[in-house]
């Protein structure tokens, strides 16, 4: 008999209700943008999904002015309890339209429907509910007796979690009484625009939320706008540094959530099967397009061979393919540019003498895909150990002692996240105290919860999102 296989189980693309064209959302209405329209592509097929109007510099001015008016006239003076009602309403509608949003996110981004359905959209809804609850309790957040909003927030977000990142900015900004101008990523603008539609449906006053699609120039105009009081940026370290330079000395507030090269440290006394799961999840979740991805595996030398064997066997079971298929584990690479970069970085790994292993899984004939890849024999000096690849490529290094593990984990300019795997609590805490990373997961990885602050330091940025402390970035205290 033939082996048992899983028949294709695709979610229907029509659920996304993709419109032929989308427009910027300014001052409570969808308007024609003055910029050159862009075409957003489904990376799994490389077919155009929709045409999207983009913002001109004048549109940025209009959006910031609308946000300013809304801050001064409606949203700023409104009581926290009233603001909360809007946020709860948006959260509920988002949850109600979760299936549509999940499919749309998968079409526009390339991530598997299993993740957009089970992680992106529910986590976005949770973030809104969490912050809605804070809106009337800010005085009790322990930040000060009378925290006040900052004013107008300019937010620029990446393409890896388009809806979730939009919500990570919008929810705290609005809960704390600020208004916002949001620039979604050039390749993934659609869910943020549907979110704007949801906000309008929920009756959010005009100007409180503005969404301006466009490329880097629009992001730059938003981040550099003189009437923006605070900039929240998630994206690459290079762009983050540029924004930092522009805002230096202006008195405008800034939070940056940038790149990472996280270490997943596996000690020899780890729960091995679950560590394998965590390492797989750490690097192959969202095709490795995750700033906090566990892209460096540091495994204790005494178990390196066995762990590698278990890891490869597990990776072989990952199903790469149609992102809309409910059984797909690894979807499409978001853009041709990103795929080229991953290919280049992997070639650099080969050239520098690391040993490449690739899953034998079949890849679709068309679309942008890269197979799960593991480099062993990686040294600290190699590019695959130092540079963020932002793709499904894991670099494996070994260590002998906990001190060496910590030294290797910290031998990076980044400091966003880290994973520690051991059944021994004291060793986990000893390591966590010494690893320089904003987020440390112990015996788990890539867990996101609105109550847990997220963010890095050094070249991974500064400021925290989520949790009580995340409110601080949007308040005068």
């Amino acid at each position: 008999m033939d082996p048992w296989t899983y028949a294709p189980a695709p979610e229907s693309a029509s659920l996304a209700e993709v419109a032929p064209s989308y427009r910027p959302f300014v001052d409570g209405a969808f308007v024609d943008g003055g910029g050159e329209p862009l075409k957003t592509v489904n990376p799994a097929t490389e077919e155009v999904l929709a045409e999207v109007g983009t913002a001109s510099p004048q549109d940025v001015d209009r959006a910031v002015a609308a946000a300013r008016r809304a801050y001064e006239k409606t949203w700023g003076p409104m009581s926290g309890a009233e603001r909360a009602k809007y946020l709860f309403r948006i959260a509920r509608v988002l949850a109600e339209r979760s299936r549509e949003l999940a499919v749309l996110e998968t079409l526009d981004n390339g991530k598997p429907i299993r993740e957009s359905r089970d992680v992106d959209v529910p986590t976005a809804a949770a973030h809104l509910f969490h912050h809605a609850g804070w809106a009337d309790k800010l005085a009790f957040a322990g930040l000060g007796p009378d925290p006040r909003p900052l004013g107008v927030v300019g937010a620029v977000i990446p393409w890896n979690f388009p809806l979730l990142m939009a919500v990570w900015k919008i929810a705290p900004a609005l809960a704390t009484g600020n208004t916002i101008v949001l620039k979604p990523a050039e390749t993934t603008p659609l869910t943020a625009l549907v979110l704007a539609e949801i906000a309008a449906e929920a009756g959010l006053p005009a100007g409180v939320l503005n969404v301006l699609p466009g490329a880097g120039d629009v992001g730059s105009a938003v981040a550099g706008h003189s009437d923006v009081d605070k900039v929240a940026f998630t994206g690459s370290t290079d762009v983050g540094k540029e924004i930092g330079r522009r805002l230096a000395g202006t008195g405008r507030r800034l939070t940056l959530e940038l790149g990472g090269k996280a270490a997943n440290i596996v000690y020899d006394d780890a729960p091995l099967d679950q560590a394998v799961e965590g390492v797989v999840d750490g690097i192959f979740f969202n095709q490795g397009h995750v700033c906090c991805a566990g892209s460096r595996l540091l495994v204790q030398e005494s178990i390196a061979e066995e762990f590698g064997e278990l890891l490869r066997a597990r990776i072989e079971t990952l199903r790469v393919g149609d992102p809309l298929d409910k059984n797909t584990d690894v979807g499409a690479i978001n853009s041709r540019v990103q795929l080229d970069r991953i290919v280049d970085m992997a070639a650099a790994g080969d050239a520098e003498g690391a040993v490449r292993w690739t899953s034998s899984c079949p890849l679709p004939e068309r679309g942008l895909f890269f197979p799960p890849t593991v480099f062993t024999g990686v040294e600290q000096s190699m590019r695959v150990a130092r540079e963020e690849i932002f793709g499904p490529v894991l670099s494996v290094l070994t260590f002998r002692t906990p001190t060496e593990a910590v030294a290797k984990a910290n031998n990076t300019p980044y400091g966003l996240s880290a994973g520690i795997w051991t059944d021994k609590g004291s060793k986990a805490l000893w390591t966590a105290q010494r690893v320089r990373a904003g987020v440390v997961w112990i015996n788990t990885f890539n867990r996101f919860d609105p109550t847990a602050p997220f963010g890095g330091y050094r070249e991974s940025g500064f400021g925290r999102e989520g949790g009580r402390i995340g409110l601080d970035a949007y308040l005068h205290v």
């Binding site: 008999m1 033939d2 082996p3 048992w4 296989t5 899983y6 028949a7 189980a9 299993r114 089970d118 006394d269 780890a270 729960p271 091995l272 099967d273 679950q274 560590a275 799961e277 965590g278 064997e309 079971t317 409910k326 059984n327 059944d423 015996n443 788990t444």
Partner: protein, 325 residues
Amino acid sequence: MTRTVPAPRATAESTGGFAGVGRDEASLRRFLHGLPGVDQVGLERRAATLATRSIKKGSKLRAIDLAISMIDLTTLEGSDTPGKVASLCAQARRPDAEYPDVPPVAAVCLYPDLVRGAVERLAGSGVQVAAVATAFPSGRSSRAVKLADTALAVEGGAGEIDMVIDRGAFLTGRYGKIHDEIVAVRQACGNAHLKVILETGELAGYDDVRRASWLALLAGGDVIKTSTGKISPAATLPVVQVMLQAVRDWHRLTGEYRGVKAAGGIRSTKDAIRHLVAVNEVAGPAWLTADLFRFGASSLLADLLRQRRTQVEGHYAGTEYIGAS
């Protein structure tokens, strides 16, 4: 392609690189407590993810037939009678009278005194007769009684023996007692296959499930089985996952195939398919055979047949239209 997997036969000597581990209490304890731990959160998260697999159309029909062929159709009641056994055997041979293409189940599972009648009724069908033994379900008796219980079943013609481990001994750390008991029962089995019931619902967590699994494998059990069906929780996806990891690792380290039986609590087709997904992805496709994976169940078959008719006929069939034992 026909996949031929060597039948899971084990002898007391064939313990791969683990010869000597069971020689005394201390080395057993060192070995079992040296196994990697199981992290509950990660284990349950993986089980939840596996449960999201969407099995449709041809894959579902195939899974249903596979599941039917893996069932140990079970009745373990004080009220069992020869008549009840006869009707169970009839259904085991031909689960759905209207669809002769439905495969027979793997075995019927009974108390030892009912074995002889079942063997007669199932002669030539390929359906095995399995008997619970060793003071099932509690295992609370002397070794002599347990061995006599086993002998009764084997003499009746049982091809498979489902023994229980002494959970009291396990919980007090007397691994050697359990090991020796399994070895003794294994000998009393003769040619019959031995399934070792761990009764995971009475053990203290997933680390214990892993240790008990290895203990049974070391002592020569052909199959490790979750539960008696008399204790809840019985078979759960995380528990079965740990046991599948154990037989996978056993194969990785010794080259031998051993099996897993998920018994108790699996009543729906959906549940059964989730287990098959776990078998496929945790142990591997080689375990997708009745030689290496079984469902111990009484009511599961009825739901599988109903879902099978739904797949074939395109609409739901009422239970009253399907003959059940």
